[in-house]
Amino acid sequence: ASHSGFTNAPGDSSVTLGFNVPQTGPYADEGADELRAYELAVEHLNGGGDGGMMSTFSSKVLDGTGILGRKVEYVTGDTQTKSDAARASAKSMIEKDGAIMITGGSSSGVAVAVQALCQEAGVIFMAGLTHSNDTTGKDKRANGFRHFFNSYMSGAALAPVLANAYGTDRKAYHLTADYNWGYTTEEAVKSSTEAMGWETVAAVKTPLTQTDFSSYIAPVLQSGADTLVLNHYGGNMVNSLTNAVQFGLRDKQVNGKDFQIVVPLYSRLMAKGAGANVKGIFGSTNWHWSLQDEGSKAFVKSFGTKYGFPPSQAAHTCYVQTLLYADAVQRAGSFAPCAVAEALEGYEFDGLGNGKTLYRADDHQCFKDVLVVKGKENPTSEFDLLEIVEVTPVDQVTYAPDHPQFQGGALGTCNNGA
């Protein structure tokens, strides 16, 4: 590419985006859904389809003629949910295909790794599904942006609902995936439930590679705990929840109360994997297709029409990130990463499904309403597994940029690259 002051400046007719999603490995289905959303977003940006959320988006600068008049093209890659592979595929998009923005991923490890890479290379990174506090906490980068919510927000949103449903006098037992995301989630849920008056009996770390959680579940009842919090995601969560239900925990009574299970981070795909075991179990989620605001309805409609089933929260966040990027470029009038970053920083918008949202300048984290959901008792279809219990307003989940759970690290300065 020519020397226009930043990496991969696009040509006059087209611009290339890099969609880096897990196509193999345990999160392949989630990745596939993300990719569907990206393809839909590209279609809409280029003026195809029904325009989806572009019509409900509070910003109106996108007009279906691509981005800054350039047709949107895209390349795809496989993160394999491994940070090395994800960086390799992101690099190939940057070096070979001339992608000017990288987006996607479905784990925090990958998001953090790719975010750092984009910072170095001088392109924008619009994170996909990543929930760890670190992504916009100690590992934040000036070139990286996260629309998805985080562990802290889950804890803050869940705690009041839990207190409401199960009382403030509960003894919780945490099982936590033994890696960064697990740590931040445990900490977030612990501190917000403790603030409500709950007691934490124990927090046990479980290995990432664990498949059978029986030896972790079995001692829970003995410990005197009456609530089990599963800080697990993906296969870990499916298995630990299945095991917990198998052990009949939910039929038990402890301290005179019904035993309860909580899953801080839910996704529809996971709920599907756990089957009937999710019924009645609380958790939080970034977005759900049954939301009735105009933006969500428009998105579900165009996604459903194209693919025949409703989108997942990962699909939603990826779609939104693409629009937000395009919009920021349009508003900035430039593809230069620093200009785009500036346009995104402190940007307030609405109509993209989560109500009024702010892209906070301090840490590039979106602040918006958080959904507390519950496994549905009588699902009517294989997609209808969760029901929204409460939409926690944004104020309740907002924290200071220097909140202890987000300490360390620095945003740095944005990098335009070559």
Binding site: G25, A202, S214, S215, Y216, A218, Q222, Q246, G275
Partner: protein, 343 residues
């Protein structure tokens, strides 16, 4: 005390899963000497036999539900399994409910067929090839099998519950005089344990009380000479492979209610089952079973909160640590035979 009994129970159950998987592997790896990286895939295919059967039972046609609409606002339809039409709703529902146990019957012929085809079509040509080649070809096969399953069933786990009759857990503690709820154990895991014991016993009996085992061992040590003695060793190897595939497959079928099957469950178990087999000692069936139980129980103990508090991370490494200690103190694992895969 109760905590210890509890973890022993857990360990026995985990151990029976490990032992069952290792048993199938040791038939191929420890006895036929083929480094079979596709063994996990066989386990996985077994599990998907259960999934397939329950899907077959649930094959349904759509019926309009009057007055309701779906998420796009179109008229809503409801799926009614054909099996309801044929057997009535309650029998039909019971059949679907029991699909996992029924899948055993389904899986046996399927797995034997898979094993035999795999051996005749591929592995047969690799007995005399270096282990390296066996690794590459079976690894390739495992990937292909996995990808095929992924193509049809997706990457997400597929819940495959046990029959309702086995839902919930059994209070051992109450039976032993402890407080209620101290030692509970899911019914299905008890079934799994009993099933594993049965299969292990049957395989042992088959190999112990017939000359089959001896012939296969001899054939592995020296195919040529066994041929000179008029024995068609190829046929026996094929049978052995079919048997091993069936054992792996059944282990998979029965495992589905414990953990929802997904396409990579085989790979997840693969390394562990190699470790179990080798710790048990190459070529020893009792060794593999014993190692399965030893590792299962130790893993359970290492996952106790009290233990993790003393040695952080011990639950992450216990299996490997024990494997190292056993292999260093006992040159051929727990009960390995001399000269099997030692070079």
């Amino acid at each position: 005390m109760d905590a210890i009994i509890l973890q022993i129970l857990n360990g026995l159950d985990k151990g029976s899963a490990y032992a069952l998987i290792a048993l199938g592997l040791t038939l191929i790896f420890g006895t036929l000497g083929v480094v079979n990286f596709a063994h996990g895939a066989l386990f996985m295919i077994g599990a998907f036999c259960a999934v397939t059967l329950s899907r077959l039972f649930s094959l349904s046609h759509e019926v309009l539900v009057p007055g309701e609409t779906d998420f796009l606002g179109n008229p809503k339809t409801k799926d009614v399994p054909y099996i309801y039409d044929w057997f009535g709703e309650s029998t039909g529902a019971a059949i679907i409910d029991w699909s996992v146990p029924l899948a055993i019957l389904f899986a046996i012929p399927v797995m034997i067929a898979v094993g035999v085809i795999m051996e005749r079509g591929l592995i047969k040509h690799f007995y005399k090839r270096p282990h390296a080649d066996q690794i590459l070809v079976t690894f390739g096969l495992a990937i292909v099998l996995q990808e095929i399953i992924k193509y049809y069933y997706g990457a997400n786990p597929i819940p495959t519950p046990a029959p309702q009759a086995f839902a919930g857990s059994f209070d051992f503690g109450a039976m032993l005089g402890f407080d209620p709820n101290t030692i509970i154990y899911p019914y299905w895991r008890l079934v799994y344990f009993a099933f594993a014991a049965l299969i292990i016993g049957a395989v042992f009996a088959f190999l112990q009380f017939t000359t089959f085992g001896m012939v296969v061992r001899a054939g592995m040590a020296d195919r040529e000479t066994v041929g000179l003695l008029g024995i068609n060793i190829d046929k026996r190897f094929t049978i052995m492979f079919g048997l091993a595939a069936a054992v792996a497959g059944l282990a998979g079928v029965m495992y589905t209610p414990i953990n929802s099957p997904n396409y990579h469950m085989g790979m997840d178990f693969l390394v562990l089952s190699f470790v179990v087999v080798v710790v048990g000692g190459m070529g020893s069936l009792p060794g593999a079973v014993l190692a399965g139980f030893v590792l299962g129980i130790l893993e359970s103990f290492a996952s106790m909160r009290e233990v993790i508090d003393i040695i952080p991370g011990i639950n992450q490494v216990i299996i490997y640590l024990v494997a190292i200690i056993i292999l260093l103190t006992r040159p051929r694992g727990l009960m390995g035979r001399k000269g099997v895969m030692e070079d």
